[in-house]
Amino acid sequence: MARETVVEGIVLRRWYAGEHDKWVRLFTPEYGAVRVRVRGARKPTSKMGMLTEPLNRLKARVIEGRAQKLLAQPQLVQSYTGVRADLERLTVALALCETLDRWLPEEHPEPEVYATLLEGLASLAQGATPETVAAETLWRWLAILGYAPELGQCARCGCASEAENRAFVIGDGFLLCAACAPSREGVPLSGASIAHLKETMRGEPGISIARPDEVRSLLRAALRYAERVLESPVRWLEFWERLNALRESG
């Protein structure tokens, strides 16, 4: 990164520093996730306070200081207001940001991951169901970042059966056929779900055209698999699951 660079990115996380400053982790397509300090952002008169909140897509200057990078002159590109007005959408959007914040190393470009995040946030803002967006985005990230599971055949006996009720084994990230699955912990996936998953992994509209029950099972598998990859639960996803439980209990 040059001494002074104009970047565009999405704020994944912010945390406070001292009385007036805050840090943000900005995810940019060219430089990956960058940790930058925003001086004076917490002063009541600062214009930068609102702009540098999580979920905002902004354009800004990143200035390389002696010990830290500083963010200056942020301009809002998109604030996803439609997402912020709905608890489920907001929670899923923040869960996606938290997942990436924990997943991405510092300053490692991942333009495809960035594009998928933009698509996910845009879909949420346009009214797509949060379950579909979460499942589709998480599976696509798993594929892009090298965690794509083997979906063509049973990982134990090697059968290529397209039979129903194969189980996705979470911890190891592969599929077992119905005959091999019972002894293992896994999320049952129907043949149609696996077909949708394959399409999604190829970047095609797979999960977005799946039935609600297929989306739910694919989401459950994605959540558990992503948590295993991250080695700890995504807290906003946990909160979202609690919201769903609250909604179902009436």
Partner: protein
């Protein structure tokens, strides 16, 4: 470090305060021991007294020395309106206005799962019980305009939805005296979505 043990201990304790680094702790400790003994003693006594006497109001969870805070004990306050805030300092800020005459409910935080704060860590169960028992006319949500504030407000609105109480959220947007040209886009967006009928 060459400072005597008691002074070192004081510096270590001061360093634990928010926003106080090692150098500030050193400066404060040296300042305190140079003041007249009576002054230092008064400070120490005030610290202990405040810690011992201050507790949370049993009704609104604002800071108090009695079972009920001054606001909850005041019969002239409108008990039919409850304003929900995140922090006791927000009560003080709203009271400075001298416009609001209702009661408060202090959550002591905002929902922030990423920081480990879940709904049960806040005074939400108490809010629901209070709304059920006191049947207020309106609950005003005065949480900040950030993602945690939004999530908390939406969560409370959902909790109270079935209880038949009017739930509103304070408006966000343009500062008084501010010009549109100088406002940032996010603030302007909030102001526009919170516009009022004239």
């Amino acid at each position: 470090m060459l400072f005597p043990p008691a002074l070192r201990q004081l510096m270590q304790q001061l360093e634990r305060l928010p926003g106080v680094g090692a150098r500030s702790a050193q400066r404060l400790a040296l300042y305190l021991i140079r003041r007249p003994e009576e002054e230092t003693r008064r400070l120490a006594e005030s610290l202990i007294l405040a810690r011992e006497r201050t507790r949370l109001c049993q009704r609104c969870f604002f800071l108090s020395e009695a079972e009920l805070c001054e606001l909850c004990s005041d019969p002239s306050r409108e008990s039919e309106v409850i304003c929900v805030v995140a922090d006791p300092r927000d009560v003080v800020a709203l009271e400075r206005l001298e416009q609001y005459r209702g009661l408060y409910h202090v959550l002591h935080g905002l929902i922030s799962p990423a920081e480990g704060v879940q709904p049960e860590d806040l005074r939400l169960r108490e809010l629901v019980e209070r709304v059920r028992a006191e049947t207020p006319r309106e609950v005003i949500l005065a949480t900040p305009a950030n993602v945690e504030g939004d999530a908390t407000a939406l969560y409370i609105a959902r909790l109270l939805k079935s209880m038949g109480v009017r739930v509103t959220r304070i408006a966000y947007g343009m500062p008084v005296g501010g010009e549109l040209d100088y406002a940032d886009a996010a603030t302007l967006g909030y102001a526009l979505s919170g516009r009022q009928e004239m």
